[in-house]
């Protein structure tokens, strides 16, 4: 069976890969968006923190014998705490300055973290075993679906939607959105905005680490796994509109799928298609698909 001259097997295979990549794009751009919303900083360290998540999972297994499920719980917390330390000690000094300094500082941290890990572990990947419960796969008739990949898609979608719900539909989220609009006024109402900023940064970083743990069994654990990925995620965020929560989720998954299909129909463009879309979107809507006019 073929569609547009392409075997359905290949088509669905690439759709699956697209959804997997989309899951990572969505989780990472969601974290970037949440951070940007409150801190007005583009967190360039995000790719390194994603990599740290995968490494924490690897360390937990090597040193403590704690498997995948523990890693899924512990890694985001550990990496989130390093993020909180980073925010408390350095980032918070820059809020009064041009936002570009935040970009430069986090870029510096990304270089340091990636450099240290590369020095210690080289640039070849370390294997991370798939959890036993999710090994194998099932035949859907038209394609073979590995269980682990299905899990990644479902789980990251659930995390994304929960985050969206918390921010858009709960009281805590309303404080957060209010602080995004006018931090001084929210503080005047007795809410500890600096602490909220710190925790938000920790949460965004935790999301990146979570994505890292999810990625560990699929890709290998590699010091540079986040270095190039983060550039694509930046494009995803720009397309979705900086600071838009739903925008990040929808464009994350959507662009993953578009990229997957491009691999089937015009493989040469698969690396660049997201950037081309970005250029087109910017011509039509400079603030991104879901962004508000600044």
């Amino acid at each position: 069976m073929t569609i547009f001259g392409v075997p359905t097997q290949a088509l669905f295979g690439q759709l699956l890969i697209g959804l997997i990549n989309g899951s990572f794009y969505a989780l990472l751009s969601l974290g970037l968006s949440v951070i940007f919303g409150l801190l007005n900083i583009i967190n360039f360290t995000h790719g390194a923190q994603y990599m740290m998540g995968a490494f924490v999972a690897y360390f937990l297994l090597q040193w403590a014998g704690l498997g995948y499920w523990w890693a899924l719980l512990i890694a985001p917390v550990v990496v989130g705490i390093t993020g909180i330390v980073l925010e408390r000690t350095t980032l918070k000094r820059l809020y009064q300055l041009d936002h570009l300094y935040g970009l430069l500082l986090t870029f510096g941290f990304a270089l340091i973290i990636q450099g240290l890990f590369r020095h210690e572990y080289g640039s070849s990947g370390l294997p991370y075993a798939m959890p036993g419960e999710l090994a194998g796969g099932r035949n859907l008739g038209f394609m073979f679906l590995p269980n682990y990949r299905a899990w990644v898609i479902v789980f990251s979608l659930a995390v994304c939607l929960t985050t969206w719900y918390v921010i858009e539909r709960t009281r805590l989220g309303s404080y957060l959105r209010a602080a995004t609009e006018n931090p001084a006024l929210v503080q005047a109402f007795g809410i500890n905005v600096p602490r909220m900023i710190t925790l938000t940064y920790g949460f965004g970083v935790g999301l990146a680490a979570l994505a890292g743990v999810l990625a560990a069994p699929i890709y290998q654990v590699n010091p540079l796994m986040g270095a190039d990925l983060i550039i694509v995620v930046f494009a995803v965020v720009v397309i979705g509109g900086l600071g838009s929560i739903m925008g990040s989720i929808v464009t994350g998954f959507g662009l993953g799928v578009v990229e997957g299909f491009t691999k089937v129909f015009y493989p040469e463009a698969s690396n660049t298609v997201i950037f081309v879309i970005m250029a087109v979107v910017l011509m039509v809507r400079p603030t991104g698909l879901f962004g508000r006019a600044s």
Partner: protein, 325 residues
Amino acid sequence: MTATTDQYVGSAAPAVTGVSTPRVVAFLAMTTALVAAPFFVYPIFLMKALCFALFACAFNLLIGYVGLLSFGHAVFLGSAGYGAAHSAKVWGFAPELAILFGTAVAAALGVVIGALAIRSKGIYFANITLAFAQMAYFFSVQAAFTGGEDGIQSVPRGALLGVLDLRDTLTLYFVVLVIFLVGFLLIYRAIHSPFGQVLKAIRENEPRAISLGYRAEQYKLLAFVLSATFAGLAGATKALVFQLASLTDVHWTMSGEVVLMTLLGGLGTVFGPVVGAFIVVTLENYLAQLGAWVTVVQGVIFVVCVLTFRRGVVGELGTLLRKSL
């Protein structure tokens, strides 16, 4: 027109001409040092530093005077390198034509990318330029003429204007030095012209500049294209010096490096990018055998600069001497 107050960087500079005694002294000192240097220091190393210095000056034109942080300037350095290398090697262009052609390639790319990116500001602008640069990078990986991972190797240096044999390292050095000085002075002239004053006005308060009748977008685009062109000049020259155009020059780490040089030297200072480029190139030269530590050191410099040293070496020196450098 009076001097603008520099909210971001340095202190007020003499209006329009920008020529002041400390600057003249600094320029003469720099030129003398660079003329004498090849007799004491390895010339190839100096030429590398000069190319990066010009690259950083071009970058500084945009960040220091328009307030736009481009995180994709490698695309201009790299594309000009490919243009020069390809035209010299495959089409047999003379070196001066190859450099001009490479520069023209970068300028053309500057028009296209600039037209798309200039409508955004701040972080958006940084992200968009970064994405375009990445697009150019993937194009360079795949396109046939760039030679992919190998790059374009053993580019002939030829003879400049058919007279000066560039295979002689010292001759090449002085040609590169002249190119650098011409680029440096042209950028200096652009910054301190009425055009440069309008750029600063737009940086300080864009709506106000527009209400005064300046077409802000056109000014910003012109500044972007100028910056791309000079970055291209640096890239094309670099390709002839090293007889190589490769993916390294298009990769986003190179865009990060030029930010580092300019930040370290001093954003928006005249001599800062040159000093920053020389420091970074020297550091990399000494740290090269340490592998991944280069990245760590670069990261540390970024962090230290941003947290404690935002004016950069030259900016801090200027504040100390109470002179605008």
